[in-house]
Amino acid sequence: MSTEAKRAPAQKRNEKGAEKGKPGNNGSESSPANDLASTTPEVRRELLTSMMLQRRFEERCAEAYALGKIGGFCHLYIGQEAISTGVMSMIRPDDYVITAYRDHGQALARGISPRAIMAELFGRATGCSGGKGGSMHLFDSETNFLGGHGIVGGHIPIAAGVGFAIKYRRGNQVCVCSFGEAAVNIGAFHEALNIASLWDLPVIFIIENNRYGMGTAISRSTANEDVIVRARGYRMEGESVDGQDVFAVRECMARAVERARKEKRPTLIEMRTYRFMGHSMSDAVSGTYRTKDELEENMKRDPILLLHNRIYEAGELTEGDMHKIDDEAKAIAQDAWDFADASPEPPLEKLYTDVYADTSS
């Protein structure tokens, strides 16, 4: 099916708003994992395009936040883009995705329209959550994007529930659930992983280990820093992978997806990454909890740079192509900004809608 894998990136998935820069779906059921993860120049270019879009998009988010166009908490994903892009590139449109509050990158990589996302951050009626959710609560039923959740760990049992529904309906989708490394200490993580393994639910739990929960290093929050060991406690397959390497992410996702679709078993994956910005726009980038040196050291492993170099050295793209990809990303981000900025605020009567559905079965 590597042909499908090849064709997939072209496939357009999202209906809302703009039509630009989404990575495709390389999911498949029959072929061996390695095949699935293997890439072609075209796929590699799509991956870079996806990561670049997230980067440029969030740079504009930072700008908009400074201008007061975005309010509340705004958690940027910059530095972790290889994970969202690698993960989303390995699943199907009918699979499910759920994540925490650091959700811009996941949402873009999944294929929610940049316009709808930016409009949501601006609190506009055209936002993917109608302006009611905000940065932490991006939702999009068309791409099975189940949010955007603000309570650390709170969405992990929800992911198990989605897995339960898939099993209940004898479906072969998977549910991908990502969260930070600091969330592994909270009860919801523990309860959900036990249930997912006990009941054989097709859920892929992804720990995005960026080494800090706000200002707390993993060594100060987690008794056993080798978090993946916990998988054994739940009789679950566990893997650790370099989250800055999009190819490594894809390979291990391929195994997890196969496991979920074929064996109906969950997987816990630790993806080692690093947060290049502050915890949120209102937090310092470095300071009491991490040094500038550490930051700079880690920025040398910028996932976009790594992928760029791989592609460039392979001679697949010229400087010109690179600039084109970058310019496109910037253009999409600009388009999203313009769209959001021109969009109306939600009408006041919306305040009282969506509290209750007026339907029943």
């Binding site: 949010g147 049992p157 198990a160 529930g161 897995g163 529904a165 209750y356 559905a357 339907t359 029943s360």
Partner: protein
């Protein structure tokens, strides 16, 4: 009409809705193999199998969240808490996830699910096992809250709750499970949000719900012998709350006592009083009085527990006070 126990009425509602819609499933501790800690799900495992009658580990937060996730993608979970005391561990999923999902998602994700189980005090279960949570749950927009006091309402409301596309909190009573009452045959539905005037009288209104409905009826019987006629308004659901039914009764009787099982401060009764004084300010001949649990954690000793609970005696005293008969 058949006479059923409250327990059997609930079991009937569950069975009928499980038969009617295969997206409906029941999940909780001991609901399947054990037939339910209070036997409400008796026989359902045999009839519907382990995929639809699901025993969970003791992880309230976890399986409440599983229910939320399943509801998000179109199943219709019924999450049983062995008792609502344990639901405190899961309250984040109920309040921050289930109650807000439709709103946060701008209307994209409905939550067709029910959280149910026994609420309030049984007998000598002590402080951690004897709490009534309706005022907490009624506080939360996005939730609906049912508090049936009779077998008929238990069946009719549970069927409505299961069919509702919103998260419905369904509060039962351990002490109610064995009580009996007539239940209409065939399809019996009680709409959420409608109170019922369970007894007519023009001297004083008792506004109540859930387990306390039985106490109110006894009080009405006792006082009838003294020639005092009580209007008993059973709210049946405390969110949404049927303000019109409350006003109608108080405008007729000009006097009211609000009876509830839980604690006083910010209890359901305080909200009912608020509605009454706003809607019936000029109708009231006396301040509205409230009867509720004493403001203490529930003690174990039988005599102390009895003294801590609201009862007919306290209610009658309150009624005589608002009627200036004391």
């Amino acid at each position: 009409m058949a006479v059923l126990t409250y327990r059997d009425a609930l079991t009937q509602a569950l069975r009928e809705e499980l038969q009617r819609d295969d997206r409906v499933f029941l999940m909780g501790e001991e609901v399947a193999q054990y037939n339910g800690a209070y036997k409400v799900s008796k026989g359902l495992l045999d009839e519907f199998g382990p995929m639809r009658i699901v025993d969970t580990p003791i992880t309230e937060l976890g399986f409440a969240g599983v229910g939320v996730g399943a509801a998000m993608v179109g199943l219709r979970p019924i999450v049983e808490f062995m008792t609502w005391n344990f639901a405190l561990l899961a309250i984040d999923e109920v309040v921050n996830a289930a109650a807000k999902m439709l709103y946060m998602s701008g209307g994209q994700y409905k939550m067709p699910m029910v959280f149910r189980g026994p609420n309030g005090t049984a007998l000598q279960l002590g402080a951690q096992h004897s709490q009534a949570w309706e005022s907490w749950l009624a506080h939360i927009p996005g939730l609906k809250v049912c508090t049936p006091g009779t077998p008929a309402d238990a069946k009719g409301l549970l069927k409505s709750a299961i069919r509702d596309d919103n998260p419905v909190v369904f509060l039962e009573g351990e002490m109610l499970y064995n009580t009996k009452g007539e239940v209409p045959d065939g399809e019996h539905i009680v709409p959420i949000g409608q109170a019922e005037l369970k007894r007519e009288g023009d001297h004083c209104s008792i506004i109540t719900h859930g387990k306390m409905v039985l106490v109110a009826m006894k009080v009405a019987d006792d006082l009838a012998k003294e020639g005092i006629n009580i209007d008993v308004v059973d709210l049946r659901t405390v969110r949404p709350i049927d303000v019109e039914a409350i006003s109608k009764s108080v405008q007729k009787t000009n006097r009211a006592v609000v009876l509830e099982e839980g604690w006083e401060i910010c209890g359901m009764g305080s909200q009912v009083v608020d509605f009454i004084q706003r809607e019936c300010f000029d109708d009231l001949d006396a301040p509205v009085l409230r009867v509720h649990q004493e403001d203490v954690p529930m003690p174990y000793a039988k005599n102390l527990e009895r003294a801590a609970k609201p009862d007919a005696g306290k209610t009658i005293a309150a009624i005589k006070k608002v009627m200036y008969l004391d």
